[in-house]
């Protein structure tokens, strides 16, 4: 477990990704080197009228420039308040938190399944796998959303040179229908030939489907969960999920990344 700490940092870059999505870069954040794909940070909002922090997955880091990026979608009061911060604002960040994804050996073909605002940690994961020497062509990035406008940062993802499979409910981009339908087809076609690893992050129904696909086809992998997170460091017990074996686990400490088949969804 990394020791969490509260760090005052500055919002140095705020990009409006449109359709309610924002990319915020904070610097200097002294602990970038300890952020892994699946790690999250807990962002303080008390300078607005919001009491609890909000959990945000690390979307990327620049270790040289000590920059930390998060990407979020305006959903409720918390993210709306966050989106109103302007460049130069001081923001307190508690982190790095959580147990992230474990990277597969380079002989595997990772299948990343992102739903909506679940893509940032998977984008980070893909980037790190490439940095670690994996052939981008072996990385399969599925990205689902309601319609084209929900699939932000596509250019950036494609630029990594990985295989990109968009899917939208309304068919406005890529396959029409749930992204997990496309994933199932892919697994069917490939799991006999290649050693796949599934990685999922997105809304709960999507994760449930990924979890079931993994178990059905015997493909190991991991999913990243969400839960209301008052503390983010394991002291409030507010964020628990039920494990198939062994009672409860805290999403903030034992997770947010769990093995496929581990959690009762």
């Amino acid at each position: 477990m990394t020791k969490p700490s509260c760090e005052d940092t500055t919002l140095v870059r705020a990009r409006d990704l449109h359709h309610g999505y924002f990319s915020f870069t904070f610097a200097p954040y002294p602990r970038v080197a300890e952020c892994h794909p699946g790690s999250f940070v807990h962002v303080q909002l008390t300078s607005t009228d919001i009491y609890l922090r909000r959990a945000m997955s690390v979307a990327s880091v620049n270790t040289r420039r000590h920059e930390l990026e998060i990407i979020f979608k305006v959903f409720g009061r918390g993210t709306a308040a966050l989106s109103r911060f302007t460049t130069g604002s001081k923001v307190n960040i508690l982190g790095p938190l959580g147990v992230g994804f474990s990277k597969p050996r380079s002989t595997y073909h990772p299948v990343l399944v992102a739903g909506g605002v679940g893509f940032p940690p998977l984008m980070f994961l893909a980037q790190q796998m490439i940095d670690d020497g994996m052939d981008p062509k072996n990385i399969h990035f599925f990205y689902g959303g309601r319609s084209e406008r929900d699939l932000v940062e596509r250019a950036r993802i494609k630029k990594m040179g990985i295989r990109f499979y968009p899917a939208t409910d309304d068919g406005s981009l890529g396959d029409k229908g749930l992204v997990t339908k496309s994933v199932e087809k892919f697994i069917k076609d490939h799991h006999a030939k290649e050693r796949l690893r599934l990685y999922g992050c997105g809304p709960e129904p999507m994760l449930k489907a990924v979890d079931e696909l993994g178990m059905q086809y015997g493909v190991a992998g991991q999913i990243s969960l969400e839960s209301p997170m008052p503390c983010g460091i394991g002291i409030c017990l507010g964020c628990v999920v039920k494990l198939r074996v062994g009672g409860h686990a805290r999403v903030c400490c034992e997770g947010p990344v769990f093995e496929i088949g581990e959690v009762v969804l």
């Binding site: 009491y51 394991g234 964020c239 628990v240």
Partner: protein, 306 residues
Amino acid sequence: MTPDLRVTIAGVEFANPVMTASGCCNYGEELAQVFPLSKLGALVTKSITLKPRLGHPVPRTAETASGMLNAIGLANVGIDAFIKDKIPFLEKQKTKIIVNVAGATINEYVEVSARLADIGRVDILEINISCPNVDEGGLEFGQSPALTEKCIAGVRKVFPRPIIAKLAPNVTDITQIADAAHQGGADAFAVINSLVGTSVDIDTWRPRLTNNRGGLTGPAIKPIALAMVDKVYTKCKLPIIGIGGISTYRDVIEFLLVGATAVQVGTALFVEPDAPVKIVEGLKEYMKTKKLSHINDMIGKVRKYT
């Protein structure tokens, strides 16, 4: 001259008046990653029950204006695992250890307390007769003077060291409950536990907590907690540990002024896990500025209008 922050409650001396509140620091292991627990006056554990409890299904917390609701439901490892897995860690910590005890029946309180009596490192028990999140008793104990006295008296018989009665705010007259706890043999009061509250999601028409209601905590309740500490200090005779909405040293001073000898920090730990360290620093600075040599110079010293 550095100010003296030590306080004594029921013969136990604390390095400073700042403790963590039960249920807001688990068993101390996680906070120890953030700061050395020796910085605390005391650590108060999560409520311990006889059997392990998973608590209520999530969502079991919800945010509110300047506060939050929780219905964790006394999730804890149970007394056996607590002694086996958590005590070894706690024994090594250079701070006072207060174990919070809860139960559905008086027998359960007594049994858990008896088990803890054997462990010398447990300096004090805090008896949670006021948790609003269990159906089987919790709240009802703390709302009835007779049950309060009986419960504390039961624990008193089996536990030789000091006992704190943690009082419920959801009562007409908290001093009645306090006096009953005193009668039963309590050595100090912890004032207050959370207030019963709820919140509804207007999209789904569902309560925001699967337990339908929970306990309100955080800065929102500070004025209520202060008024209750004030009332207990004015009318009752045991030392008081003030709790409710404390997040800065300024809040602590308010509690001291109305009569608290020590305080506990709860929900604020979720927002700033190192809040107790900052609070202790703030207290020291304040005392220097105000030329106060000892915490006692503040306790109960509010200058009321007459």
